[in-house]
Amino acid sequence: MASTIKGSRRRGIALHTVLVLGLLLSAFPFYWAVIMSTHTSTEIFSYPPKLLPGPHFLENARNLFDNIDFFGSMLNSLLVATSVTVLVLFFDSLAAFVFAKFEFPGRGLLFALLMAIFMVPAQLAAIPQFVIMAKLGWIGSMTALIVPAAANAFGIFWMRQYMKGAIHDELLDASKLDGAGFLRQYWHVALPVVRPGLAFLGIFTFMGQWNDYAWPLIALTNPDNVTLQVALSQLNGTHGTTDYGMVMTGALLALVPLLIVFAIGARQIIGDLGKGAIR
């Protein structure tokens, strides 16, 4: 008996050793970025490599702000990510409410179409999208990023699954007897009970928009008015060989809003990712 306890403890230590090793591997690139953003380029280029943070962060940050409009592009990113998130939450949950709780002609067909759309890859539509938006005069502005992303198949699917389980028909029937119309049912009955589902969708949408790169790279043709990801990539492309400390400072600072959102929503995201399977 004693030996099995000892054995299981040894196994536990081995397990946690490997898990901590994996954790360090996950975290290391962040640490590496911190090191590079706190050294000058000459220090970075020297051997042996620096393994501890240095004192040059503010200097790098100043160079960064001199080279690109960091806060302007961060503001653009915030504008796009926030607008899209609000629009997606509203449009997707409204459509999901309809699909989850109402019968109407063509429901099955429309929902099947929605799922098919889910599968269409982005670059198939990229060229004509660009042409259409050029015609509309949206190329170069944030509108080109916000409008097409305002509703999506994934969010509708996700919210529909959530609402099917969370909204009880008795509640809807009762509110109907009280004389509530469709919009009041949506706002006062449906939304309050699906808040966790909305939180998950909102956080995922925000992070996805914040990180979006390919389409903004194409659609934002004015190099002075771009999102943060595009600005960072410009910095890397044009100054890549000159000042790594500065580029790395930008990469690191661009992660901050994202990490804040993730820290707030981590429990929600990771929990929901697994919850479906546990229940």
Partner: protein, 321 residues
């Protein structure tokens, strides 16, 4: 952004079904419902369906985006089939995908099994392992670019420290692919481990108990009990990795734009990191060859669908044995 795997669907209650006797109403009486779902379909029409249809039309034409379109028949597709650059990009994409996906699935599975048996700090681990996935790909590619840099990169410093020769990671065909694949593996292992973990937690513990009583060791239990039950989750992870991995763009684009000589979409020296989507961007937005770009896009679509079906079949067939 990748999707959520196992979306839970609770059993619908009996009341959820439509009442048996429904008064017949005209289609117009449902206008509120149609209006409520219309934003998505309108957006899809304007920025999805019409563009996709238009890109099919475009692929039968020559067009630089400004002048008038010129009918080309099947010429673009004929050229596509013989375009060695396109075939090279398919090869690059599949190699990078394979170099990233198989280690990633293996590592994610091992991590998930360990997390499943670790009792303490489970939430700390899950948080830390998920972190690489929420970071922006541009920032990550910049960071990895410095890790794999020839002159001052960490990888070469490590090699030097153990007395090996340096490798010009971002200047050799294999180095480029390994660097991109490493980045992808780093970013997606934790995410998939958490999905696997969710799957593992659905396996009832009495199954393990029964296996233990039958005298099965941990390895045997994994292959006889765990793996068969995990097949649906494995299939999901494989399909998602295929669809996203075969359409990789930002990773090679940002990682290689400093060593690219002709354009930021050229995929590094000898185009060794030029993936299919990178090639699409190069043809379309660098060369302004919109007609050929559209044909390339359809070619990519076909490759992704074919590859997904092959993967699906392989995993399914194993399941029937």
């Amino acid at each position: 952004m990748a999707t959520v795997p196992v979306v839970e669907q609770p059993p619908p209650t009996a009341v959820a079904e439509a009442p048996a006797v429904r008064p017949r109403k005209g289609i117009l009486s449902y206008w509120r419902l149609y209006a409520a779902i219309s934003p998505f379909y309108l957006l899809f029409l304007a920025f999805g369906l019409i563009p996709v249809g238009f890109s099919l039309y475009l692929s039968f034409h020559r067009w630089d985006g400004l002048g008038s379109m010129e009918w080309a028949g099947l010429a673009q597709y004929q050229y596509l089939l013989t375009d060695s650059d396109f075939w090279q990009s398919i090869g690059n994409t599949i190699l990078i995908w394979a170099l990233a996906t198989f280690p990633m699935i293996f590592l994610a599975m091992v991590t998930a099994v360990m997390l499943n048996s670790a009792v303490r700090f489970k939430n700390v681990y899950r948080f830390a392992y998920f972190l690489p996935n929420v970071t922006s790909i541009v920032a990550v590619a910049i960071i990895f670019g410095s890790v794999f840099s020839t002159n001052f990169g960490l990888m070469n410093a490590l090699l030097q420290a153990v007395g090996l020769d340096q490798v010009a990671w971002l200047n050799t065909p294999w180095g480029i692919k390994v660097a991109i694949a490493t980045l992808m593996t780093w970013q997606w292992t934790g995410y998939n481990a958490i999905i696997f973990l969710a799957g593992l937690q659905t396996i009832p513990s009495d199954l393990y108990e029964a296996a233990r009583i039958d005298g099965a060791g941990p390895v045997q239990t994994f292959f006889r009990v765990t793996l068969p039950l995990m097949r649906p989750v494995l299939l999901f992870v494989l399909v998602v990795s295929t669809v996203t991995g075969l359409q990789s763009f930002a990773e090679p684009q940002v990682l290689l734009q400093t060593t690219a000589n002709e354009s930021t979409f050229s995929g590094g020296p000898d185009h060794a990191g030029r993936t299919m989507v990178l090639y699409f961007f190069q043809q379309t937005f660098d060369n302004n060859d919109f007609g050929y770009g559209a044909a390339v896009a359809w070619g990519i679509f076909l490759v992704v669908v074919l590859f997904s079906i092959i993967n699906w079949r392989l995993v399914q067939r194993r399941g029937e044995e």
